[in-house]
């Protein structure tokens, strides 16, 4: 089976005399997996995610989604949640749903409305009137209401209350098809650990570990959270 995401010697530098944000990264992510992209601040997680979505250009090397270079074709199959608010704040939630329906053929409107109802979000509310956490929930609902092949979620639970986290994580598990891959970048490892199949540890722009969660537990006798604290101890 072809990998859903592949980095070949991927390097990204933000300036000529700066340390690379990503340094010759080689990585293959397979289909049907929930993968944690983990690392301390400045390790290159968000840079990798932006490169996968064409929001940054690599300095050298490349990144392929479903064996295609990042572009319009890959945008069709990637559902991306950035770590910031990216919707037009003048829109209502209903309008944001129509926007996604207009542009993504794999968007499932009913699923979005069902999730909004479960999270008690008023679809007629204007986005700028919502709290930061609720805006994040709306964005996650929009992203998870697509039938994508790759979901790329940058800090999906960072801004929401602990009570909503369980619902969101449950949403992530239940709202993607078996062949789809979910790539989650987060600092809240303990919260997401239970849903992860694999983890990728990044440090100073380099992959220091790519292993299945089961293998980590078997070989190290530790949880991912414990291993992370050990590997990245200050």
């Amino acid at each position: 089976m072809t990998p859903i995401l592949e980095c070949r010697d991927l390097t990204k530098m933000y300036g000529k005399n700066t340390r690379p944000a990503l340094n010759h990264v080689n990585l293959k992510l397979n289909r049907g997996r929930i993968i944690g992209l983990l690392g301390p601040n400045g390790s290159g997680k968000t840079t990798l995610i932006k490169l996968a979505n064409g929001l940054l250009a690599p300095t050298s090397g490349g990144i392929w989604i479903d064996e295609k270079p990042v572009g319009v074709e890959t945008h069709r199959i990637v559902s991306y949640l950035p770590e910031r608010t990216y919707l037009n704040m003048g829109m209502t939630v209903n309008e944001a749903i129509r926007y996604f329906r207009d542009f993504y053929t794999d968007f499932q409107e009913e699923r979005a409305y069902e999730m909004l109802k479960n999270l008690h979000i008023d679809p007629s509310a204007r986005l700028k009137s919502l709290s930061k956490g609720t805006k994040e929930k709306v964005q996650l609902i929009l992203v998870m209401s697509r039938n994508a092949q790759l979901y790329v979620l940058d800090e999906p639970i960072g801004g929401v209350d602990p009570a909503a986290r369980d619902y969101i994580l449950n949403t992530i598990i239940t709202n993607y098809n078996e062949n789809a891959t979910v790539l989650i970048s987060t600092h809240l490892i303990a919260d997401v650990e239970t849903i992860l199949d694999e983890v990728v540890f990044l440090r100073y722009g380099e992959v220091v570990l790519h292993a299945s969660v089961d293998a980590i537990r078997e070989e190290n006798g530790k949880s991912v959270d414990a291993l992370f604290r050990e590997v990245f101890r200050c």
Binding site: N53, G54, L56, E73, P82, L87, N88, G90, D102, Y104
Partner: protein, 261 residues
Amino acid sequence: MLGKLLKYDLKASYRYLLVCYVIYIVLTVGFVLSVKGVDVTAGVPGMILAFAFLSLTILWIGSLIALIILTYVLVIRRFYVNLVRDEGYLSLTLPVSTRMHMLSKLLSGIFFILLTGAVLVAGFMIVAAGLGGESIWEQLYQVFSDFLQTFESFYGTLFFVNGILNFIRGILLIYFSICVGQMFTKHKIWGAIGTYLGLLIVLEIFVWIASLLFGLYGGVNALVRWMYSGSTWVNTIYIIAQILVYFFLGAWILEKRANLE
């Protein structure tokens, strides 16, 4: 996809402009009424009307200038916020080519600027109708007829076509400068302003050198006509070349050199 992009681009800005159009038209009517009511020989009430006339004149002229500035600000802001700021995280990850984004922004920008132009003309018509009496319509008809007559000559038509192309070039030059500016690691807005001013200067120097070289062979008249008369084929080609470069290179930058840090 272009239709959908256009729909959202128009929806994003129309509310602000609609409010401004209404304010402008109300001030125009107020200005006309105040002019008609001014009678400085009628004592204190006349003075009050004169004061109202002065205030409304200032407000009317202010609203006219503000409307032009605001339209351009909204057109530029829409491109900037929707493609290279936070909303760009969504726009640039839609399954839509960057050429479509550029085209949609260009068409919506042209639409809003022309709409503002039409509203301004409507305001002038109100003033003309209110202050000019019956003969004003005949005079306006004459002006319009004269305008149409320019199309009877080839150079008149070309002058008009070049004017429209120049207008499109102006918008695309701003968009292109924003595309280049976003590639800067820091000070992206200054990068865009620098690109815009830099390009204007470089292009002026180019025109000056080209005109000089042209002038050596074609005389001073050819030199002047080549760039500044606005009614030559060379001018048309020169503008179209710029339009194509700004459009396609700008779209390419957004696609291959996006830098949403």
